[in-house]
Structure formats: structure tokens, C-alpha cells
């Protein structure tokens, strides 16, 4: 069936093209996503037009990427892989539980232990194996969709780990992202995560939290965002 054939079936079909091009206003997005979940006509049109937009992405004149770009990415990736492999499988990688796909067969307690192992490895790497600083536990606030979640940030020196329980799933096609607030605007981090089927997660905060006033968590599209697209559901004030 072509898009023309099902045009009259839904008055909101006119929003599919701007949606697929990323051109809906922020306030229109949520209601249109809800509409899509209920409207087979718009979903069909979305599937048809999405394939065109996917091709548009590949239509740009080919420009050689600077070699420094790959070098910088690989440097970070190799360091991260070394740490993850030292600590075990997916120690601080996002969980697949969020998408309801095949489970990994490790319990949250095990994941937390592995993340702790990464923290220890990081402490050794960054601190040269010196005696570990005292841990400070800071309780955070949950709001919005995460109301009722329990949040604690475990800080040792400049390193911190966020422990979450009773968290809702971030939603289909979405992932949680950690943000650090030093000045006015939150800065993105590489910490993207899902939660277990029980709503738990242990998240290693990348880099240092020295000078950070607040740690925030928002739900973002898969792959994360460079600026928050939704209100924070978790906030921890470091003060």
C-alpha cells in the first residue's frame, strides 16, 4: 500500500514527514509518539518515509574524516576496553534488559560488583595504587517518571558511582544518560545505561566529579544526546 492510499485514514498523517525529518517542535513530539503507538496508518507511513530519510543521511558529498578523529576515538575506546575486559563482561556498559531482549544471565549484584571492580581498576590506574580515599554517600532525588526510585551517589575522591533501584525502564528506543552540572548548563557524559528488569543499575560516572555541583539523569534517544531533551528524572546535589 502506498502512502497516498492511506492518506485519508488519519488526520495526523501530515505530521509523519516532519517527524521523520526531525522537524516537529519539542512540545509536539511526545503527543505524536503516543499517537504513533496507537495508529497503524501513521506507523505504516513512518516506515515508508523513514527508509527515504535513512538514504538522505548517506547523500552528503563524501569528505575524508581527519585521521586525528579516528585516533582520538580509538584511544578512548582502547582504554575503555582494557578496563572493561579487566573487570569482566559489560561491567559498566548499558544493560540490554531495557529492551527486553536476551538477558545476560548476571544478577544486579554481580553487575554492581563488576562496576566496583572497574572503579578499583580506575582508582589504581588514576591514583597510582595509593591508599583509597574515604567514601562519601550522597542521597539523590527522583522525580517525574522515576518518582519512587532510590538514588545514592558513592563518591571517593574525584570518582563517583551512581546506584539506582526501583527505576522505570527508559522506554522503547530510549536510554538513560548521565549529565554533570559544573556551571549553568549540564554537560553530557558517555554514561548511557539501561536498568535491570527489577529497575536497578550501577553506573560509573566517567571522569572526575571534582567541581561538579549536580549529577542529573534524563531519558534520551538511543545513542544519547549532547543536550538534554527531557527533564531530569534523577538529581544528586554534590554541594
Amino acid at each position: 500500500m502506498s502512502t497516498r492510499e492511506h492518506q485519508p485514514d488519519c488526520p495526523r498523517h501530515v505530521d509523519v514527514a516532519p517527524y521523520v525529518l526531525g522537524a516537529l517542535e519539542q512540545q509536539e513530539l511526545e503527543s505524536f509518539r503516543e499517537h504513533l503507538a496507537e495508529c497503524p496508518h501513521c506507523r505504516l507511513e513512518l516506515a515508508e518515509l523513514q527508509s527515504v530519510v535513512d538514504e538522505l543521511a548517506a547523500s552528503t558529498p563524501l569528505v575524508a574524516a581527519p585521521s586525528e578523529l579516528s585516533e582520538r576515538v580509538l584511544q578512548t575506546v582502547r582504554s575503555s576496553a582494557d578496563l572493561l575486559n579487566a573487570a569482566g563482561q559489560e561491567a559498566d556498559r548499558p544493560s540490554r534488559f531495557a529492551r527486553g531482549q536476551r538477558t545476560r544471565g548476571f544478577a544486579f549484584a554481580g553487575a554492581a560488583a563488576l562496576v566496583a571492580a572497574v572503579a578499583i581498576v580506575l582508582a589504581i590506574v588514576l591514583g597510582g595504587g595509593s591508599s583509597s580515599p574515604k567514601e562519601r554517600v550522597i542521597l539523590g532525588q527522583a522525580s517525574g517518571a522515576a518518582q519512587g526510585a532510590q538514588v545514592s551517589l558513592h563518591k571517593r575522591g574525584g570518582h563517583a558511582e551512581l546506584l539506582l533501584t526501583h527505576m522505570p525502564q527508559p522506554g522503547a528506543g530510549r536510554i538513560y544518560e548521565v549529565w554533570l552540572v559544573r556551571g549553568k548548563a549540564p554537560s553530557p557524559t558517555d554514561a548511557l545505561f539501561g536498568v535491570s528488569s527489577a529497575g536497578s543499575s550501577a553506573v560509573d560516572i566517567p571522569g572526575t566529579v571534582q567541581g561538579v555541583k549536580q549529577v542529573l539523569v534524563t531519558s534520551e534517544p538511543l545513542g544519547g544526546s549532547s543536550a538534554p531533551t527531557r527533564n531530569p528524572v534523577i538529581a544528586v546535589a554534590l554541594g
Binding site: A17, L21, V52, A57, S70, L74, E90
Partner: protein, 210 residues
């Protein structure tokens, strides 16, 4: 062009250290299985294959090399961090990667403010991968991107313009309506008609190529 190995053929490779040459024979989807197991070398091959396309898209949207580098770097690190979430049923690795690049680039553009936003044009963007430097895969990429650009160029101007302003310019339909002094409904209609025509043209090309 799909590399020759099937997933089942690739499995024995997963049990021993991966040499770069063996990794290069694997399809993207198979490499992502290794990336999910923290294999940095597999990710390096993904990066080799898609860095140019990712940078090109980021450059087209951001308009400066430095912003494009930042966006592409963020996108690839996000890809590495969320590699376990790759689902082949939802599209190719390339589509997924370019989708992340697009989102990040538009976010970056919107943060920089509407007045600084680049108006969509190919001016100043030259193809720096000259023919003798291209690999076979890059030559296919180039031919494909050329076909799509030609299809885009054949659209009526008013339809092409709204699609480019939205997708490469990062403007919302309301902003485009204001810029073009055109009703919002008309802008949405042009976007839809333009995408439908592109789809028909691309299907025609596929049919001819089949």
C-alpha cells in the same frame, strides 16, 4: 557489498584473538556482536568503514570541520558505549550510526543558536576523496550518494528546500514556515510530497538496477 562470511561462519573467529584482516571480512552486524563483548579492534573496523560518511554528514549539518569532528567523535563514542543495544532488525549499522550522528549534529546546531545556523548549501564542501584514493566500498558509497543527491536535485524547488532545511539545517517546520513566509500546513505537505517522490525515484532506481 556484503562481506562473504555468514554469522555462523564467523563464530569460530570469536573464540580466538581477532586479526585485523579476519575482522575486515566480517559484516558490520557481526562486528557489532564483538563490540558488545568490548572488542576494540572490531570497533576499529566499524570506525574505518563509517568514519568518512559520519564526518561528511556532520560536516554538512554543522558547516565547520571542528564542530563536525566534535560531533562525529561524540557519536562514535556513544556508539561504542551503547553497542550492546544494536538491533539488526531495526536497520544496518551504518543507518544506526548515521542516525546518531544526525541527532548529535542537530542538537549541536540548535545549541549554537538559530542565527548561527548554517543555511543548507554545498558551497565550500568539496569532495576531498578523489577517485584514485577511494576503496571499492567508498566508490559504491560515492555512487549511491550521487544517485540520492540527483534524486533530491530533481525535486521541485519548494519540496527540496523544506526537506533540506529540516534534515540538514535542523530547523523545525514552524521555523521553516516563518523563514519562507508560508503556512505551516503547506510546509508539512511539501515535506510529505517531496519524501514520497524521493521514495518513488529510489524505487525506480532499484528496479532498474535489479
Amino acid at each position: 557489498m556484503r562481506p562473504p562470511h555468514t554469522y555462523s561462519e564467523a563464530m569460530p573467529l570469536l573464540r580466538r584473538p581477532n586479526s585485523r584482516e579476519k575482522l575486515r571480512t566480517l559484516a558490520d552486524e557481526e562486528l557489532m556482536g564483538l563490540v558488545a563483548r568490548n572488542d576494540a579492534e572490531a570497533f576499529e573496523v566499524i570506525l574505518e568503514r563509517h568514519a568518512n560518511a559520519a564526518f561528511s554528514l556532520a560536516y554538512r549539518i554543522c558547516g565547520t570541520r571542528s564542530a563536525a569532528e566534535d560531533v562525529a567523535q561524540e557519536a562514535f563514542l556513544a556508539l561504542w558505549r551503547s553497542g550492546t543495544h544494536y538491533d539488526r532488525a531495526r536497520g544496518s549499522v551504518r543507518t544506526w550510526a548515521l542516525g546518531i550522528v544526525h541527532n548529535r549534529a542537530v542538537d549541536s546546531l540548535r545549541r549554537s543558536g538559530a542565527h548561527d545556523r548554517r543555511r543548507v548549501s554545498d558551497e565550500g564542501i568539496e569532495e576531498t576523496l578523489e577517485a584514485p584514493e577511494r576503496t571499492d566500498a567508498q566508490a559504491i558509497e560515492h555512487a549511491t550518494s550521487h544517485e540520492i543527491r540527483r534524486a533530491l536535485a530533481e525535486l521541485p524547488d519548494d519540496q527540496r528546500r523544506v526537506i533540506e532545511l529540516a534534515y540538514f539545517g535542523g530547523f523545525t517546520h514552524v521555523e521553516i514556515a516563518q523563514m519562507l513566509d508560508t503556512p505551516v500546513g503547506t510546509v508539512k505537505g511539501r515535506m510529505r510530497l517531496g519524501l514520497q517522490k524521493l521514495r518513488s525515484q529510489m524505487r525506480g532506481t532499484e528496479a532498474l538496477g535489479a
